[in-house]
Assembly symmetry: C2
Homo-oligomer: 478 residues x 2
């Protein structure tokens, strides 16, 4: 069977098969490509511009919090990873290991960092003696490697880019404050910048980070009803400081193991962005993160239109991320469709007839609406349109998520939903891992989190019927 293709853009149908559509659009819009190394990807300029935009937004929040960027080595000696027992067990199966350096077999193998807790914290230990040296507030933007056999572009790759914040404090209270700050900074990045809605919560014991006391997460629902763990913020307690035999003197002279936290957001966020907003014709980018916010397309060989387009471009080029499409040997229709596929929020179309009347057609990517606007009104209309696209996309994703969240009290209903529409299921769970495993075996769904706004209630576990105090959020996940 031939796959359905968009008549406009020749992109596979998103409504028919999200996964097929996703791979197709990532390649066709030149966001990324498969690398010759198994499990790895190449992030092409149009995709990397999204990452630069996310970096700029989040890095400002991080710096405003007083957290400073630094850089730690790519290589982690194997015995470092082994210092925290749960940590090494969690990461061992996914390591890439360097055994040869400078032409010689190494005496100790080096892991390519899957995350940097161990290499950082040994340095932290060396840098601190007393409470005066705390807190340590450090973040790094870098690449990490966790071995994967199959590439799922942006969503699951052996190498990915991320930031990892690693802070250490004198008290648990201060550390928890940082954990929650990071979670909120991520929520802000998703909602304000990427127009994505999600649920903040705590991971179950079995789903938490290897070595953490508690893991906080932000879970976003994808159009096929699967959840994406969009970032995490970990309360590491004193697990690592104890494993590294790291203590500082507090004000009384007593020795204290510092309280630590780590938090990360990766290029995976781009995968979520693509899936959440796209449609059958391709990408739809929220204006705040769009590499190109407005494209101006004068009809080919319309000289007056080209003059007007150039003048509009010059008027607004310092205000917006603007592109002027002056390619001559492509049809207007082809151009429109290409920009449509590339998800540019606003397209300004100009022909000679419109130029004569000093007006333009403005096409809105998210709704498909066209309107004629006089050139003198652009200065007031463009920011309004961009703002409304940004907030509409967020509202749409919020509505979708809420519509796809099912409050369920019967395991039969649970199984039925997970085998059909999927989505989030809010259900009581006794917090026994056996019931969690049972759900996974029966439905492929896992506990995504205990939402932060979950209330204490009298309930019965959806699986075993024993008393349960809270509704957890379940979903199949990426």
């Amino acid at each position: 069977m031939k796959p359905q293709l968009s008549q406009k853009t020749q992109v596979k149908s998103r409504s028919a098969d999200l996964s097929e559509w996703y791979n197709d659009i990532v390649l066709k819009a030149q966001l990324a490509d498969y690398a010759p190394v198994k499990g790895c990807m190449v992030i092409r300029p149009y995709g990397y511009a999204l990452w630069e935009s996310i970096q700029a937004y989040l890095d400002k929040l991080i710096k405003d919090r007083g957290v400073k960027n630094a850089y730690f080595p790519l290589f982690v000696p194997m015995h470092y990873l082994q210092k925290e027992k749960e940590h090494v067990e969690g990461f061992s199966p996914q390591l890439a290991v360097v055994t040869i350096g400078g032409g010689e077999k190494l005496t100790e193998n080096l892991a390519v960092r899957p995350t940097s807790e161990t290499i950082m914290y040994d340095m932290y230990r060396q840098w601190t003696k007393s409470w005066r040296d705390l807190p340590i507030l450090i973040n790094q933007w870098c690449n990490v490697v966790r071995w994967e056999k199959r590439t799922y572009l942006f969503l699951r790759t052996t190498e990915f880019l991320w930031q990892e914040g690693h802070c250490a404090h004198l008290t648990h209270e201060e550390s928890m404050d940082q954990v929650i700050w990071a979670l909120n900074a991520y929520e802000q990045t998703y909602s304000d910048h990427l127009a994505m809605y999600g649920i903040k919560g705590v991971k179950s014991e079995s789903e938490k980070f290897a070595g953490a006391g508690q893991t906080f997460t932000f879970e976003c629902l994808m159009p096929n009803g699967k959840a994406l763990q969009a970032c995490t913020s970990h309360d590491l307690g004193q697990n690592f400081s104890k494993s590294f035999d790291w203590s500082v003197q507090d004000k009384t002279g007593a020795k204290v193991n510092p309280w630590q936290n780590s938090w990360g957001l990766s290029t995976r966020s781009i995968g979520g962005l693509i899936m959440v907003h796209g449609d059958d014709n391709g990408l739809v980018f929220p204006p705040n993160v769009a590499p190109i916010q407005i494209v101006i397309v004068p009809l080919p060989n319309h000289d007056d239109a080209l003059r007007l387009a150039t003048s509009i471009f010059n008027d607004f080029k310092n205000q917006y991320r603007l592109e002027l499409d002056t390619v001559e040997d492509e049809t207007a229709g082809y151009k429109f469709n290409q920009w449509e596929m590339k998800g540019v929020p606003l397209r300004i179309e100009i022909g000679n007839r419109e130029a004569a009347q000093n007006q333009v057609t403005v096409y809105q990517r998210d709704t498909g609406l066209k309107q004629i606007i006089s050139v003198s009104d652009l200065v007031s209309t463009l920011p309004k349109l961009l703002n409304s696209i940004q907030s509409n996309l967020l509202a749409k994703h919020r509505q979708f998520t809420q519509d796809s969240t099912h409050i369920v009290d019967s395991y039969e209903d649970f199984k039925k939903i997970m085998s059909t529409t999927r989505g989030f299921i809010s259900a009581f769970w006794c917090q026994n891992s056996q019931c969690e495993d049972q759900v996974k075996a029966d439905t492929k769904a896992t506990t995504r989190c205990l939402p932060l706004d979950s209330k204490l209630e009298d309930g019965k576990c959806i699986v075993c019927g024993k008393p349960a105090t809270h509704r957890w959020l379940f979903a199949q996940s990426y």
Copy 2:
């Protein structure tokens, strides 16, 4: 023998031993630290802020040129590296090699990228069919690994951070235009941002990049008379496109192997910055790149001074990278010395007596001059002082370089200079590699470059006396 220490800052003497001073100040000012992995370093926040500043400056030049950022994989399959013969010979001895992934021995080993020509160009080949797909203008900011046994902080480390630009063009002329543009962008970054002077030139055959047709370089002279290769820009000709069997159709339908170039600037630049401007009391940063441009130090426990300091801080915090030092339990002298060591260009000192007169003392790090300035004059004086420090530092380094450049016509003089003061030597060379080797064996000096402004002359090779047409620049190097 006990090393000499600065009375102010307890830093080792730069004039006595540049190398000892360098390691000492990099550690004491918390720019970087030795990592537990041989040959690797940790870049601490104060050092990383320098890199972020260099990145911001250079990235803007790169984007203004129309070159776009992207990201290619860390791992390069070994058979890719082997496609260009000189290239693999040049890099093989320095590779870190991954042989285990996800718990299994790999069927093909992966090199951790020492540079990304091979992994990038195979993708370029896949992305292009005709002249319409050229030029490709791509840059990436990333980490690379070249195995080193000894760490020389910033200057020579197994892993380092850099940008690598990789462009492909239809003609050699266009490619050369890009090569020279990159070289000039680097010179601009060094002179305008880092206040460093240097010489642009072409590398000799033996010193060029493995796989390049020609390598252009910017060579900076360090205070001990050794040269630092501060960046390079390579004309790759068609070497790689031919090795990768990569061709595109030109406008006539004929197949053309694209003309390529690559160019890089790394964290090594920070090493040069530290050495060039520092003095016996520690770091001296040019204002444009300084992580902190102005520090305000109210005398401890001077309440009026603290109020004035806070008000000045609030007035200027959006204009400068400003720090207000309100720590209470350190002496003013200790604070002054710490900021001195950290190289902050301007220090504003305020006591209660000065606050009463609404004036402050401004200390200039590069010259050590102090002046009393009324608070109302700060708005006009601060930018003047910062600008003058920036240009004075560049002028000083230019003067030093010119004073340390010797025009030499006798090999005896050549050897004498290289065994005493060192510096650049401008001397005729016949361009035979045997003479180059002889110079190296006798004096440890190498050809640094043929300066771009070198004139065609009638001369005799400094070693063999045979005819030579140009004066080359020689120096011992890092």
